[in-house]
Structures are given as structure tokens and as C-alpha cells.
């Protein structure tokens, strides 16, 4: 039984792996030896094949046709706490906006204000000695406090977004 094409190809690639039986056959069979020689010539030609080279100034042409890459910018890594900060600010602003849309803004302020006042009054009555109210202590009304909070939250988000440098091409090396 002659060697199959697969066995001959495998023998040429790694002759040490051929089994004893096949080796004995190969040593005595001129037909298989001819096949082996033909395959060897094929593989040698495939290995030594000469490919026509590219035009003489190929490298120069490529270099002339590329534009310089934009200069890299340094990345400021954004850690998870900063993201948490951003998320909290966004949540705060969203809550404010949704509440404002759902209710009339002033109504919210006045209802919160009166609710706050009620608590305050209870507290005041309990601490009868104290005559100062929370509003008086802060010097501003609750609506103003909420408004300032929203504005601060908005600027907080804006600041986080704007302070983030553009991701440069060097990103891959920092990961």
C-alpha cells in the first residue's frame, strides 16, 4: 500500500514523525520515493518563489502621501470617584428638573417652604427659649437654597465634562 498524499506531505515537513512501517515502505518503493521528490521540489519552489518587488520609490511615495498625525494630548485618567461625583451631580440636577416639570416650581418651593416652616415651628415651640428660625439662621429662603443647589450641580457636571482632556492616541499604552 503506497503512502497517501497527506502522509507524504507530513513526512516532508517532519520526517522524524513517520512510523516504522511507512518508513520501511518508503525505503523500498520507488513510486513513493518519486512522489516524495516531486513534493519536495514543489515545497522548495514555494519557499523560494521570487515575487516582483514594488516600484523603486515605494517607501518614499507612501511617506509623501501621509499627513502628520495630530499631536498627542495627555490623558487625565478619570477615576471611579470622579464618575460617582458626576453621577451624583447629574442625579441632583435631574431630580430638580423633574420636580420642577411635574409641579409648578414656585408651588414646590412654597409647599416645601411651608413644610419646612411647620417643622421649624414645632421645633421652635419645643425649644421655646430659642426664637431663631432656620431661615433666619441661614439668612435666605428655602427656594433660593434649592435654586443655588441646582445651579451648583449643573456647573459641577459641566466642570467635570470640560476638564476631561481629549483621549489621545496614547490611550492604548495606558491601559
Amino acid at each position: 500500500m503506497h503512502l497517501s498524499d497527506k502522509q507524504i506531505q507530513a513526512f516532508i515537513e517532519s520526517p522524524e514523525n513517520i512510523n516504522v512501517e511507512l518508513k520501511a515502505h518508503l525505503d523500498s518503493c520507488s513510486s513513493c520515493q518519486t512522489e516524495v521528490e516531486l513534493y519536495k521540489s514543489l515545497m522548495l519552489e514555494l519557499k523560494q518563489e521570487k515575487i516582483p518587488e514594488l516600484s523603486g520609490d515605494f517607501v518614499g511615495n507612501v511617506m509623501n502621501s501621509i499627513e502628520p498625525l495630530p499631536s498627542p494630548e495627555i490623558i487625565q485618567p478619570i477615576d471611579k470617584w470622579k464618575w460617582l461625583n458626576i453621577a451624583a451631580s447629574i442625579a441632583f440636577v435631574m431630580l430638580g428638573v423633574i420636580t420642577m416639570i411635574y409641579y409648578d416650581g414656585l408651588q414646590v418651593f412654597s409647599s416645601v417652604y411651608s413644610w419646612f416652616n411647620e417643622i421649624e415651628n414645632q421645633a421652635v415651640s419645643k425649644l421655646s427659649e430659642s426664637s431663631s428660625s432656620v431661615s433666619t439662621m441661614l439668612g435666605v429662603d428655602l427656594g433660593t437654597i434649592l435654586f443655588i443647589g441646582m445651579v451648583l450641580g449643573f456647573f459641577g457636571v459641566l466642570d467635570k465634562i470640560l476638564s476631561r482632556k481629549k483621549i489621545s492616541n496614547l490611550k492604548i499604552f495606558s491601559i
Binding site: L38, M43, L46, E49, M63, L69
Partner: protein, 200 residues
């Protein structure tokens, strides 16, 4: 021996990383090194896939422009050579898809077949008369289907592994191995069809 080979590979990877880093930092001359190092690989793939010599230079140039523009997205998931090989293979496929109808029109006008077009380069009469086995084999290699000759070239000429070739051509390693076996067998069978075994 294996350890040494791993060390050499790591050094090559490190050098490639540094080279890419330099390119990305705007050092244009570093890209020249990449072009010089990989022009052979790109040319080999293009040569196997694109029959027209005039178009080949432009395609290879396009490949390097693409490599340059996308270097920032290379994540070192594979060797740089595999990545560049993949870009080349895709670029040639795109070219072949676009040019398919045109190629057929050209052949129809000239009343040619694809085989005869390729034989313009390798004169069939001369080849038949040639007693040089090497010439005969070379002409048969050029008449193989594109996929076979590309895979055989990457394996034998570029000495790439089944896995690397698979990554370039999006084929499983086993399929690449099968293409290599079938390609070589096809070559042998075609030679034996044309010539007597004693003449080979």
C-alpha cells in the same frame, strides 16, 4: 530553545510597541521603518491576489495609509504583521469585488480567459518546452485559485503559522491546514496532468 524563542518574540513585540508609540507621538520617520519592514509581506499578499501589476503599487500604498491612520486603534491583540496582513487581505478583497465586472468586461473584449491573461506573464509554450522544473512549478503556482496561492505563499514564503494565516484570512487554523494540503496536492496533480512523471 523555546525560552529563547519566547524571549526574542517579546523583544520584537517591545520594539514594535516602541516603534508604534513613536509614530503616534508624531515621529513620521518611525513609520518609514514600519513600511520598510512590512512592504514585502504586503506585496506578497497583493501579488497573489491582484493580477494587474499597475494596480498593485497603488493598493499597497493604500494599505500603508490605512495602517498609518488606524495605528492608534491597534491593541496588540495579535502581531503587527498579522494586523497589517489582514488590512492588506481586506483591501485586496474590496478591490476584487469592485473590479469583478470590469475584469470580466476586459476579458470579454479581448476574448480572453483568466488563465490566458495570467499566461501573458508566463508564456505557456515556453513553459511546456522548458525542461526547468522550477519554471513549470512557478507557472502552476500562478494558476492556482487566489485563496490557495495566497495561503501557500503566507505559509511557505512568509513562514507564518496556521493561526496567523487564519487571523489574516478569517479562517479557522484547521481550514488553513486543509487549504495548504489541498493546494500542494492540486499543484502536484496539475503538473502530472501536463507532464510525464519522468519529465518532472
Amino acid at each position: 530553545m523555546i525560552n529563547l524563542s519566547i524571549k526574542v518574540n517579546k523583544m520584537v513585540d517591545q520594539n514594535e510597541k516602541e516603534l508604534i508609540e513613536r509614530v503616534l507621538q508624531g515621529e513620521k520617520s518611525a513609520f518609514r521603518e514600519i513600511v520598510v519592514n512590512y512592504q514585502k509581506l504586503v506585496n506578497h499578499i497583493a501579488y497573489k491576489m491582484i493580477p494587474q501589476e499597475t494596480e498593485r503599487d497603488d493598493i499597497c500604498q493604500d494599505v500603508f495609509i490605512k495602517v498609518y491612520q488606524n495605528l492608534g486603534s491597534f491593541q496588540f491583540g495579535s502581531k503587527l504583521s498579522t494586523w497589517i496582513g489582514r488590512i492588506t487581505y481586506n483591501r485586496c478583497l474590496t478591490y476584487l469585488e469592485k473590479k469583478k465586472p470590469l475584469l470580466f468586461e476586459d476579458f470579454a473584449e479581448k476574448n480572453q480567459t483568466l488563465d490566458s491573461l495570467q499566461s501573458d506573464v508566463f508564456d505557456p509554450e515556453k513553459i511546456l518546452l522548458s525542461s526547468d522544473l522550477s519554471v513549470r512549478i512557478r507557472s502552476e503556482i500562478n494558476l492556482l485559485p487566489i485563496k490557495f496561492k495566497t495561503i501557500l505563499s503566507l505559509y511557505h514564503l512568509e513562514e507564518m503559522t496556521y493561526d496567523e494565516i487564519g487571523k489574516i484570512m478569517k479562517l479557522p487554523s484547521g481550514t488553513v491546514k486543509s487549504y495548504i494540503f489541498r493546494g500542494r496536492k492540486m499543484l502536484k496533480d496539475r503538473l502530472l496532468q501536463k507532464y510525464n512523471q519522468e519529465d518532472l
